[in-house]
Symmetry: C2
Subunit: 442 residues, 2 copies
């Protein structure tokens, strides 16, 4: 296929004109002020519609990592890579990678992509939108005879929903203990990586080092309701929040619900309830976007006529600001101590998960923002409350993400839905952000 290359200008990268054939063969100079490119939106949504039947069950999409449906989803995806001329390969971690060479062999790759595995009983948009969007961006560049200076790599990470396994492997953050964990498919991660075409014995070959990439960008559905509520088309993700999980064991004394006067109780349920209310008030009392959730509670003995002797509950705490996570960790411990004293119970608080915030790169955000502006899309900067492969890539490369609205803010559910026009908007922003990155990055 015939290709045009960028006309280089070392003086002003932002003004470097971009050549493309529209109509084919007719060179068109494209500057920062010129009309942005567009992906083939109908094709992209067609892929998503077709993909909806892969792993579809009566209770939702079930393409959990290493399952038969995941393998079917990967086969579908590999075909899209091939049709796009991306000549896919599978790295030793099981990630699918394709590449468009750039004109300048000295430049590092721009990496774009997402994942195609799902949660249990999930939807068809969390992952595929960004994966297929990235493939479509590469295909559009190729079809529109736009040749970047940088290599463009497209990645579909393996087993994102099982703990960003593919992207963590790519930054060398997988331990032997991680490999022995049993994934939702029932297979260990070690078995799963082999099953999808990786090789755990050579896992380090999948690794990227800090500085190996020009940048990483990921298109994803928001999974929350902020964009929809604000009536905006695009979210420019400032970072992925840090996450800390706590397991709180509250010990009181189980006793007869009829014969124990109210002032002689050591009621673990009452203590748990007071804790839940206080945690909520503490977080809401400080301005910002901290979220804290008590999602799980196990009561013992959990019988109508017995005062609970023990409650185990979890707290999920997230913020983009690591200092806030530290602040609330201390605050929760203090609340537990105060309520323990007041209710004659004891609080034992253990941390189980602890992920640092992943802050987006200002330049990458600016490229995304500029692309959205050029396309005329309304937008805002916002954190991602959910985890993504992008958080792993932020450890080794300048990173930012593009969000498109989720209808009703619903995700990880069969009701998950993003409108076709929003899918296309997101891919268009990714396409033009890639071009901006190509112009600006060295």
């Amino acid at each position: 296929m015939k290709r045009r290359t960028f006309l280089q200008s070392s003086a002003a990268l932002a003004a470097v004109p971009l050549l493309r054939n529209t109509p084919p063969g007719a060179a068109l100079a494209l500057g920062a002020s010129q009309a942005p490119l567009r992906v083939n939106g109908a094709r992209l949504n067609g892929w998503l519609a077709k993909f909806d039947s892969v792993g579809r069950t009566p209770t939702g999409i079930n393409r959990v990592g290493y399952s038969d449906a995941d393998l079917a989803g990967r086969a579908f995806t590999l075909d899209l890579f091939r049709e796009a001329g991306l000549n896919p390969r599978i790295d030793t971690a099981g990630n699918i990678l394709g590449r468009l060479d750039g004109t300048d062999r000295s430049l590092k790759p721009i990496l774009i992509g997402s994942h195609v595995d799902s949660v249990t009983d999930g939807g068809n948009f969390d992952g595929p939108v960004g994966s297929f969007g990235a493939i479509e961006v590469a295909r559009s560049l190729r079809e529109q005879n736009v040749r970047l200076r940088h290599p463009l790599e497209v990645v579909v990470w393996t087993n994102e929903e099982g703990g960003t396994v593919g992207s963590r492997s790519a930054i060398g953050h997988i331990t032997p203990a991680d490999l022995d964990k049993v994934a939702r498919s029932g297979k260990t991660i070690r078995e799963g990586i082999g099953l999808v075409g990786g090789n755990v014995a050579k896992l380090s070959e999948a690794e990227r080092k800090k500085g190996d990439l020009a940048c990483y960008m990921e298109l994803h559905i928001e999974q929350g309701g902020l964009l929809e509520k604000a009536g905006l088309q695009i979210g420019v993700v400032e970072g992925i929040v840090g996450l800390r999980w706590f397991e709180v064991t509250i010990t009181g004394f189980a006793n007869h619900a009829g014969t124990t006067p109210m002032d002689q109780r050591q009621d673990a349920m009452l203590a748990a309830a007071k804790f839940a209310v206080a945690v909520n008030e503490a977080v809401r009392g400080v301005p910002g976007r901290t979220v804290a959730t008590i999602g799980r509670m196990v009561v013992s003995p959990n019988t109508t006529n017995v005062i609970p002797g023990q409650v185990v509950l979890t707290v999920d705490l997230r913020d983009l600001d690591a200092a806030k996570i530290t602040h609330f960790t201390d605050r929760f411990a203090q609340i537990g101590q105060e309520i323990g004293t007041a209710t004659k119970t004891t609080f034992d608080i253990k941390q189980s998960v602890d992920t640092a915030p992943a802050i987006s790169d200002p330049k990458v955000m600016a490229w995304i923002d500029g692309a959205a502006a050029a396309l005329g899309f309304t937008r805002q900067r916002m954190p991602s409350g959910a985890g993504h492969d992008a958080q792993e890539m932020s450890r080794i490369a300048p990173m930012a993400m593009i969000f498109v609205p989720s209808v009703g803010g619903i995700s990880h559910s069969p009701k998950e839905f993003t409108k076709p026009e929003d899918v296309v908007n997101g891919a268009d922003v990714l396409l033009n952000a890639v071009i901006a990155a190509d112009r600006a990055s060295t």
Copy 2:
């Protein structure tokens, strides 16, 4: 065996002298002001100690109604009836009954007793203390050649812990649906009654009508910690609290713990916690002895990183005053509505169990109080927070109960314990209360 009868005085029943042989053969006049009788305390505690091996398992006493251990416990008890000369019979409901005839054939029986079945993983005192105490009272009267004017009946009710089945049968409050319920033993109540020697086809033959009994008295361990805390020996039970159970279903909306801002949540867990705190504050804010317990909570989906969409919890509400139960029923509904509005959740409150308070008879309480006073025991009037067969008997006869302290207020537990001297104190009070009842009742 030689017996003496009461010398009758129609003028002043309270002053009727009571004849007994101490030493055997030497008549001794006993008035209200005279020394009270005593049971054979060592024998009574010996029975309890021996009974501790019946149904004893590594996790506690397991003599649940209709189990093999219950049958063994009943066989043990029947022997005690026989040894006491009580010529036991089993009524059609499966209750064990023994009788000492009185001197006046026109008088109705005084009924005393309790039960010998246990909860799962219970102790050896809840039930046996009052059952063996009643047998010992009858045996002591016989041995001490004291003949009452009234017949004295001793009853050991069947399957108290499974819902006062024997005593409810005795007041005609068992429905065919009740008979079909599966008891903790795995057998239906219908099967169980047959197994213990009853006959469900003739259940009505076990019934007592209102007015059939002079009175009913039951000795029982307190099962709470009021007596121990107050340092008192005897509780004179003013009544058995009414009980109402509520099942509260709180519906919010399950959503992502990371992507849903705090002000956009419909968090069923937060609503449940606020409800639990508010119910506790409401009950503690009104003077009295109302108790309310949230013993059970089932959270959905109960996952660390998902905001709970539904919580089902139970409230156990008890008070001796039916008006207070009505008041708090209304108050809980109001609290649910307020919290539902504030948290964007809905509260659906259903009543599942509803038992009216059973108020003790002032005369019967006075006999118990007088007996305890004559014996020099410290005492107080108090409600029973737990249910008892006595609550059923209160519907057809003047009723009161005698409580003795539970160490640490613990019951329905292998740790349940009542000191031997407290067991004897209780039986001594029962003995002398029976004598007072015999003098005073017509």
